[in-house]
Symmetry: C2
Subunit: 330 residues, 2 copies
């Protein structure tokens, strides 16, 4: 365990904008080692007073909808407005397929060449719930390092979209032009958390599809309860090729930001989100905590195999696991 | 805590087919009271030697596809073949909408009037993971009571379908005729666990839609990896109105049952399922265990409110919760 003084120095280096210190800190919070975890907690405690000053924007949508390309564009505009931009990407599927550091940086070619940009992909080793925990802490670290616009990219898979909307001040949902699939998802009510709907690829062969999607989405949105009294979710038809919709998008991000900062709306919003986040995540946090201990992981794997060999019932295996966890963690 | 003798007597009454004893036992396992939970565990231990002798059939699909109606039909046929049939229904949405004891029984009007049938809806108070735990134990109790065909109905919502396929020997997926939505779900790979695909409502206005769905589904299935070397998943076009497909369905249930019982396939399958079940459910089991303690629930709610009022960060709240849980449970 590092002495308190060293942690304070580390925190100060992060605050002073030392990229290496920031990168190392994010690597630390990704670690599942118990001592690393405690160290990470101390570090977060130190930097906490310097957090909360960014505008946190979530960008979500199905694979291939164009999230990275749009983030690249938004990021470059924000940097042109003298903002410091951090990008955190969450991809629960990355362990299976694509998604590496090089991959993310090359997908955001313009942004990654900017001095005021910081791009960090999610570790592929974590599961969905773990990713959200990690992302929250990574976001706080970036804020402490002076980034005032945090863009969080998340593939829309199951619960991840909802979790991202709890971490962010504004959530953009990207949709494919005329995708029946997406419409079904929207009809099922996964849309209430979105603050803006962006129909991508409003160009070439998919231009007409974008128009059709706009009409459908617009009629659905009339029946969706409003998240805020002060904001009506916008639908924006966008093309990163022609640039169509980009100015409208940036205007609306500004508009939403200003509305949120009125009357302490942002403060109220974040507290409400934190409350929900705690309620839906506490069990996941305990799971992560248990998995940090290697002997627990070994026992879980051993018991699963024993169950698979018929040597023990799953009920009894759980009983053994429970006794072991509480005996060792106390 | 009841003495061991009483539990043994209770278990014996269940084994002797005492419906009241069975119903009370299922009510017991639904309880989240700590003492009830321990009692339930003792009861499960007692009845375990008498379990595992049923053929466990899962029936899943979207709301309104006709699950209850089909279960009613299948159940009556099975009873005509001298089987004893238990129906357990899992509906994660029931807390919000429909789904009551009366509701389930009236939806299975023919089956519920049979002496050899037992219909038990899921308690609406449990969450998804909890439901699967409850269902596994309820299934064991029904087996101990001599039911040799267990039909488990589950609304296809999120992970519930996958969990049901881990509890059952055979899983039937019901599909609406020509539903673009379902096809998307299937394409995304939620189908590998299904042993049979049933296109319902192959009659009247939706007859042509059923044919179209059959063709689409058939072409998709060619690209889906096989679950078993000895079984090719069947697609059955069904109408509960005309009776079309019912005989084919029952033949295929018999055929699958016989194949599974060959060469101990069933035993191997169940062990493999139990292993996966343990791996995906242990954390949920710990969550349920923690929630059994009322003081934990009170602390979680209190901390969430504190987080929502800005009195404590969610990180610190989690830390407090963890300390409390491990201090009290040990």
């Amino acid at each position: 365990m590092k002495p308190k003084k060293e942690i304070k120095e580390w925190a100060n280096r992060i605050k002073d904008g030392d990229r290496q210190a920031l990168s190392q800190a994010i690597t630390l919070i990704e670690s599942s080692n118990v001592e690393d975890r405690q160290l990470a907690q101390s570090l977060i405690d130190f930097i906490e007073p310097w957090t909360g000053n960014s505008f946190r924007i979530g960008i979500t949508g199905p694979p291939g909808v164009g999230k990275s390309t749009l983030i690249d564009k938004i990021g470059v505009v924000l940097i042109g407005q003298s903002h410091k931009v951090a990008v955190l990407t969450i991809d629960p599927t990355s362990a299976l397929s694509k998604g590496s550091i090089l991959g993310d940086k090359s997908r955001m070619a313009h942004l990654s060449s900017q001095a005021n940009a910081f791009i960090r992909p999610s570790p592929s080793s974590l599961n969905l719930g773990g990713l959200a925990l990690y992302t929250r802490e990574a976001m706080l670290l970036c804020e402490a390092a002076g980034f005032d616009r945090i863009l969080i990219e998340s593939v829309g898979v199951g619960q991840s979209e909802f979790l991202i909307s709890l971490l962010c001040d504004m959530t953009l949902l990207l949709l494919q032009p005329h995708s029946g699939d997406e419409m079904q998802g929207i009809k099922r009510g996964v849309m209430e958390w979105a603050d803006m709907y962006i129909i991508t690829k409003t160009d070439g062969e998919t231009f007409n599809g974008s128009n059709k999607t706009y009409i459908e989405l617009n009629s659905i949105l009339n029946f969706v309860p409003r998240k805020y009294s002060f904001w009506t979710p916008k639908i924006i038809q966008l093309s990163v090729i022609s640039g169509l919709g980009m100015a409208t998008l940036m205007d609306n991000i500004d508009l939403f930001y200003n509305l949120l900062f009125n009357d302490n709306q942002l403060y109220k919003l974040r507290l409400k989100q934190s409350e929900t986040y705690f309620k839906v995540q506490w069990a996941k946090m305990i799971e992560q905590y248990i998995l940090m201990n290697r002997s627990n992981v070994e026992l879980i794997n051993f018991l699963a195999t024993e169950v698979g060999h018929g040597n023990i019932s799953s009920e009894k295996a759980f009983d053994k696991l429970l006794k072991f966890i509480f005996a060792t963690l106390k």
